[in-house]
């Protein structure tokens, strides 16, 4: 049971590296971007895992109630904004990929490198 | 009385779970696309109605009940629409509901 408390961190590590694998090993640019999104989600999971307090609830203070335990609001604030920024930056990456496709006719890294080699 | 409500709500929740489970098996095991959509839509309609009814009984007369009712109404509207849109898109893209693909292939595997 003691070890189960670390399961969230293990999933974080695995997700992080699954995303990283897509970034370094895949040739397709969109696949790389999806890998980056998974990588990002893994970091979100790490932060939100740290905010949990045993027996706590979401940090919304009920009037009149005393002795409530709340989870940590700070990581939640950081991740809440990071999610919105994440989709904006992903969209920017997608826009660049669309332009690459229009200019070179491919979004495969290998073909792009070949075009670069013999113009 | 509360005991009765508990028992009824658990029966509803469990039967809802059973419908979702059967739908899941159907989505994996059915022979072709249209039958799979049919099985999956089972979880959407019957499963959600039963589970939400069970949760409503647990919630009692409160604000949560109204919210659950709203969720139920929207799910009843959207889930069949989603199933319809999926099947319609498959039909338009040229996947025929053919009698040949209805039967499993020689090795007993469902054909895609």
């Amino acid at each position: 049971m003691e070890l189960l408390g670390l399961y969230n961190y293990w999933v974080f590590a695995i997700l992080l590296m699954v995303g990283f694998y897509a970034v370094i090993a895949k040739s397709n640019l969109i696949k790389k971007l999806l890998g980056l999104s998974i990588f990002q989600s893994a970091v979100f999971l790490l932060y939100i895992t740290m905010d949990k307090v045993e027996g706590g609830t979401a940090p919304i203070i009920q009037k009149g109630a005393t002795d409530q335990i709340f989870s940590n609001p700070l990581p939640q604030v950081l991740i809440l904004t990071a999610i919105v920024v994440g989709i904006s930056t992903t969209a920017l990456g997608m826009a660049i990929i669309v332009r690459i496709n229009e200019a070179y006719g491919t979004i495969e890294e290998k073909e792009l490198q070949d075009q670069n080699r013999d113009p | 009385m509360s005991m009765m409500i508990d028992i009824v709500s658990w029966i509803l929740l469990l039967s809802g779970g059973a419908f979702v489970f059967i739908g899941g098996i159907g989505a994996l095991r059915m022979p072709n696309f249209y039958t799979r959509v049919h099985a999956a839509s089972l979880t959407d309609s019957m499963g959600t109605i039963l589970i939400l009814a069970g949760i409503m009984l647990q919630a009692g007369w409160s604000l949560a009940l109204i919210k659950l009712l709203a969720i139920l109404v929207f799910l009843l509207l959207t889930c069949p629409t989603a199933s319809y849109a999926l099947a319609n898109a498959a039909l338009l893209s040229g996947l025929k509901p053919d009698a040949k693909t209805l039967s499993p292939d020689d090795k007993g595997r469902p054909t895609p």
Partner: protein
């Protein structure tokens, strides 16, 4: 019981992540990404982060799927090359995973109240929010008031990313034909009728999330995303032209800039009234009322910017489709 459920969800997360990386069809990968986000949102909810779960569900499963799909329509949906040299990356990844997992044994267990994170800053927020700001939702209080600088920065990042997308996609060659008029889903009666019925409710729910953010989970980021989803649904059903008629792109530009200006303007107003930048206490005769007013305006600015930016990005992709 909840532990079992959490482990189940986390395992599904790993499975869907691996499936996203392995699957050849990018369309399927994007759909799996939506499932991944929904699982992530459920996990966040179990971990007591209701606000974050709402954001992840609205953005990850809603907006991001639509934007990725509209980008896929421009690039093609098949991955053409198998991974050429997969052993070296696999080796690197395995070693790193093992190292990180080895390092986690020193971390505090999940939910440990003695963990270092819970000792500093956060208790101060929880203790002083009822007194200084007097709104129930501490997350909104920290987001809009205590750490208002942070959020201002994030809003400008969204603004910048939106400008970047418009710059990258807005340029089109001189001889490019005008985009053909899209008709939306004219031949799909049932989705169209049901969708039309839903759009006003989605926008209404977005407004509820916007203005209820002080009392429950919600706020500008979530509301902006939800309203943007509603209008995107309208665009998918009725076609681009109808959506641009309802919310013209000039209005979208004004929203993107106006929301950020509103946020910054509240800060400047606080300076002019004799306080510090983004110190809302001076906005009203009573400091607590001033905080309420400031948070309301700032959240409104965030919501307007996020909604405008996501819609502009969506339209930028959609306008490219018919070349």
């Amino acid at each position: 019981m909840i532990v079992l459920f959490a482990i189940f969800l986390l395992t599904l997360l790993v499975i869907s992540a691996i499936a996203i990386v392995r699957v050849k069809n990018l369309f399927v990968a994007v759909m799996l990404m939506g499932i991944f986000s929904l699982l992530m949102a459920s996990t966040f909810f179990i971990l007591d982060a209701a606000d974050v779960a709402l954001t992840e569900a609205a953005i990850g499963a809603g907006v991001s799927t639509i934007i990725l799909l509209s980008a896929l329509a421009l690039t093609g949906e098949h991955e053409r090359f198998a991974t050429a040299n997969r052993w070296l990356p696999l080796l690197v990844v395995t070693i790193t995973t093992t190292t990180i997992i080895y390092a986690t044994f020193d971390k505090p267990r999940l939910g440990d109240p003695e963990a270092p994170v819970h000792q500093h800053v956060a208790p101060w927020y929880l203790q002083n929010t009822p007194e200084l700001i007097d709104i129930p939702n501490v997350v909104t209080a920290v987001l809009a008031s205590f750490r208002g600088y942070d959020t201002l920065g994030e809003v400008f990042v969204v603004l910048t990313a939106c400008i970047g997308v418009l710059f990258v996609l807005g340029a089109r060659p001189e001889d490019a034909p005008k985009p053909a008029k899209q008709q939306g889903l004219r031949h799909h009666l049932i989705p169209k009728v049901v969708g039309r019925l839903l759009v006003p409710f989605i926008v209404l729910f977005g407004l509820y999330v916007q203005f209820h953010g002080d009392f429950g989970p919600g706020g500008g980021f979530q509301a902006g995303a939800i309203i943007a989803t509603g209008i995107m649904l309208y665009a998918v059903l009725e076609g681009e032209t109808a959506a641009l008629k309802a919310v013209p792109s000039s209005l979208l530009m004004a929203m993107v800039a106006g929301g950020a200006i509103l946020y910054g303007g509240v800060g400047v107003a606080a300076i002019l009234l004799g306080g510090n930048f983004l110190d809302y206490s001076v906005l009203s005769s009573n400091p607590v009322d001033g905080q309420h007013l400031g948070i309301l305006l700032v959240e409104l600015g965030v919501g307007i910017t996020v909604c405008g930016a996501l819609l502009s990005i969506f339209h930028a992709f959609a306008a490219r489709e018919h070349k």
